[in-house]
Symmetry: C2
Subunit: 603 residues, 2 copies
């Protein structure tokens, strides 16, 4: 057995899938003996659950001592977990407690140096600070993000310029970076292979250890890595997996684990909108599944209930949930109304059968009829006092969506450890095309950060690449999406979303141009959209769609503010954590004002 086979085995043991085998340990110890082997412990932690995190860290430290690693490195926030600063400021006991745990963790160290990114409380502020556990003691200067220990230059900073300066000012034989970087941050960090540049410039190996795991909306993808002193990549951990990888940076020993298909290409910036999402689909799928898995596990939840409409959104959600939670823990409910087509019902059932999840049908006709009757009376009363009753309203559509959500929350109230799933997507969030307390509502929203055209691509990828082929019935992928809440008076059939909004291909390109290119209304008007290359549309049509986009978006900010938790997997999003726009900012003029109008207005 070589080092890599052994470390693979060690990882299985750490996961609890295999029992530690004494012979393996002895073999590993023999390989490592007397060399500078270092472990990169890419671990998944729970925010604030110090006991859970400390036990995990202890397990890794003990193993490192046993196999005589020179050093073991943990990510930033390993002990306290992510996004904890507000909490430890208010609940000071939590930080105090962590110091007691840290002291005991230090006692586990003897020959192995354990390095961890922690939080220090200095001058009423909380800053990230490196901690070294060695020989039973805690070593740190609590000064800032940098620390030198036995010629190890440890930094929590991810600014390459600062790090090079740090290395220039200090003699070091190894650069260590403990990180907790989301995809967005990781992408920025590695876009120009910055760490490789640092190593080759400073002639010193670099080790980068990142968190993995989802914490509410934040997703850390892992991919810890090591460069030798020439700046060559010598080791890399997997994405989306807890892993201990072992390297000997001075001898360029390490293993480069494969990443999801296309991952490296994804780290580059896209220059053009395209419907070819291929490079990002394996990553996206794995990220979404991990997001669900971690949210449920860390919250102590086990089961999910969702409405299966026979449409794309709920179908993709069901696939992800079945993979993340196990098919026995997912309940799909078809909730047909008068408008629901026979095909939708059978598509929903077919999908549930393909996945092997539980399935039942609960028609909502009675509920909708009862509410509608009460509404009819109530509106007539209110109309006596209030004017401006809509001639055409969405009230009837929304009763259906809200009745369905009431049913799903009912299941959640009645069965332990179960939450309902909000199935709306990002394209529709931009358009405010989702019902408050209806399909927007749920304990978790798996695909809220994904646009519709990407969802179509993901559905096709799922059918090609996951365990059983063609999980999602072709009819679901091929039909044009519609909420089936209302009849289109022109066709007599359920209203198609693209007729009410605009082609998703066009819509998603607007979103991409705003988020990635920061383009304005007029810039888009004169650019050629992908949709225009394949379809002959008039300038008026394009103008109409652009106007509709800005108009609908301006009234959608409230909806953005109540999107349930979802992992952010794109570099740009409308998630509050990533992007803050006030609901009261609904009067922004996205077209800009011509100068004559300005002069006139201020006269």
């Amino acid at each position: 057995m070589d080092l890599f086979e052994l470390t693979e085995k060690v990882n299985e043991c750490l996961k609890g899938n295999e029992i530690f085998n004494k012979n393996d340990i002895i073999e590993l110890k023999n390989i490592i003996n007397n060399d500078d082997y270092i472990g990169l412990a890419q671990i998944n932690t729970i925010s604030g659950d110090i006991e859970y995190n400390a036990k995990k860290i202890a397990k890794y430290i003990k193993l490192a001592e046993e196999i005589k690693l020179k050093c073991i490195i943990f990510p930033q926030d390993s002990l306290l977990g992510s996004s904890i600063k507000d909490v430890i400021k208010r609940h000071t006991i939590v930080k105090k407690d962590s110091i007691n745990w840290l002291r005991e963790l230090a006692k586990l160290t003897k020959n192995t140096i354990a390095i961890i990114g922690d939080i220090a409380h200095i001058n009423d502020e909380y800053i990230n600070t490196p901690i070294v556990l060695h020989n039973g003691k805690i070593n740190t200067d609590f000064k800032n993000q940098y620390f030198i220990y036995e010629k190890y230059a440890i930094s929590l900073d991810t600014n390459i310029k600062n790090n090079i300066e740090f290395l220039t000012n200090n003699k070091a034989k190894l650069f260590i970076n403990c990180a907790s970087q989301t995809y967005k941050q990781y992408k920025k960090y590695f876009q120009n292979e910055d760490l490789s540049y640092l190593s080759s410039k400073c002639k010193i190996p670099s080790l980068y250890v990142n968190q993995i795991g989802a914490n509410d909306n934040l997703l850390f993808e892992g991919i810890s890595c090591a460069y030798n002193s020439n700046g060559e990549l010598i080791a890399r951990a997997k994405a989306f997996e807890e892993q201990l990888i072992i390297v000997e940076p001075y001898k360029s020993i390490g293993k480069i684990y494969p990443l999801p298909d296309g991952y490296c290409k994804c780290l580059k910036e896209k220059n053009e909108f395209s419907l070819d999402y291929e490079n990002d689909l394996e990553r996206t799928y794995k990220a979404l599944v991990l997001g669900i898995k971690d949210y449920f596990y860390k919250c102590g939840l086990k089961r999910a209930v969702l409405g299966l409409s026979g449409g794309l959104d709920s179908s993709v959600c069901a696939v992800l949930l079945a993979d993340a939670l196990g098919k026995e823990n997912v309940y799909g409910i078809s909730m047909p109304s008068k408008i629901t087509s026979k095909e939708s019902k059978s598509d929903a059932e077919q999908l549930a059968n393909n996945l092997g999840i539980h399935f039942t049908e609960v028609p909502i006709r009675n509920i909708v009829d009862t509410i509608s009757a009460d509404f009819h009376k109530m509106f007539n009363t209110i109309e006596k006092d209030w004017n401006y009753r809509y001639a055409q309203s969405f009230t009837q559509d929304n009763i259906q969506a809200r009745s369905r959500a009431t049913i799903l929350w009912g299941v959640s109230n009645e069965f332990s450890s179960c939450i309902p799933i909000a199935t709306s997507d990002k394209s529709e969030a931009y358009m405010g095309y989702a019902t408050i307390n209806g399909d927007m509502s749920g304990g978790y929203a798996p695909i809220a950060d994904i646009t519709k055209t990407k969802l179509f691509a993901l559905a096709r990828w799922i059918n090609k690449n996951t365990g059983s082929k063609n999980l999602i019935p072709e009819t679901i992928i091929n039909k044009r999406p519609g909420a089936e809440l209302a009849i289109n008076p022109k066709t007599g059939k359920p209203l198609i979303a693209e007729d009410a909004l605009m082609p998703y291909e066009f819509l998603d390109e607007i979103i991409w141009r705003i988020e990635s290119k920061h383009e304005s209304y007029y810039e888009m008007l004169i650019s050629e959209f992908l949709y225009e290359r394949h379809n002959n549309i008039s300038k008026e049509q394009k103008t109409e769609w652009l106007n509709k986009f800005y108009c609908r978006m301006s009234t959608a900010f409230y909806k953005w503010s109540i999107i349930p938790p979802t992992v952010m997997i794109e570099p740009n999003s409308i998630n509050k954590i990533d992007y803050n726009q006030l609901i009261t900012s609904s009067h922004i003029n996205y077209k800009g004002t011509d100068e004559e109008h300005i002069t006139e207005s201020l006269k």
Copy 2:
């Protein structure tokens, strides 16, 4: 007429309540002639609505020119509005547009110097920067938060130390601070009368101009002020009102407008929990009314519909809404279920009559019965596949709350410019004692930042101090709150919230101790609570309540994440903007861990 009477009149004109009177202007001009009179323009702006903001600024600049003010000062973010940095980064046109408006605003200036806090884009970052409009030109160095113009030292920084350093390094005859500070920030800034200290230390007058107005959750209270070179307060604008106040800082001329009762006392830190909220009630009332008014106005909304349960929360909300929107724009709906008592219904109607708001009754029995029947069938089906059905669930309670929310959202869908109101309060948010898609749901949540004991005090204050006396029927204030969603099996009467939770007085003191004092579980256990002074409770009882608090809070974070918009009026809150705690951080051990357990755990 003296300067103050004239400026009062000018303010009425600026508000549009009176027409500019040429004689008044001439009189003002005569008073001001040749002296260093300066206007502090404490204005209310709309985030991103540059045209609205620019027109307002223009109106003030024109007046200043007309009456020959030496200088007029606007708050930070006057042109672009609050919290706009993410928006202008993504929609770059908005920032570009603002520069065009600024150029035209500059053209309005001739002799008067107009000073404004703006945002500059430097090295891919957005920083606050002072701008001076004078003689038709824009003057700024775009360097940082400080700028010197004709011996005016202008700072956007609210760090007193930094400002004193700035003054020490620059010769200046006047210190100007353009701010946009929320209550929390204002409180911190003026707790030790810092600006007075700066003036007396540097022997130079200071002018502080703050925004007023609510922008989603952010509330700016105004209270701009001026100190002479001895550090004496010489002028102060009102709280919660747009106002232009005129000062001559070198001659100590200015008027100190009265603040809400107790305001200055509120700026000091409270050292002990108390049910005496008196000092904070006028401020609280005005803040809440302004919060509603601005949210509706800035979003283009006009009307509100709310459920009137005959309880405290909805009653206080109704009073606030009637004041903010006008009684004709508020619809109260009593939605009795089987459990609702006769008293609750008549109390609700009485309150509506007192307020003169619209009122109707929509019984929810039919809807609840229909849903319950469908649920019964569905649960029996699901039970065949899933174990862990709760023996006792809240399903039936929640059907009622959700049916009510569905009715209110129905009104919002059917009548233009109308949103439903979420009536839950802060004490109940801490306990997760509110229904998702039920009483938690709404387009706005007026009292989500207020604890229950403060709400009781506010209700009594309302009955004493607002227009008509005793608006809120005494029976509402005197009854013990309960959601009337379930029957207490012990009493056969609707369940009282305090029986399900703990006494609100005790609960609110826990909240206060955590938020203001950062106390831990054990610190609270050994401290004497106010409730304990008046009631004989056992150690076991206290322990049980504390345990219940932490246990319930740990599962309430999801609910915190979906609280509708509400103005934050306390220095501490659980609002996402102010306090971030991950939902997945539900396993925090708030008691800390004893060292033996730690040692044992890591063995």
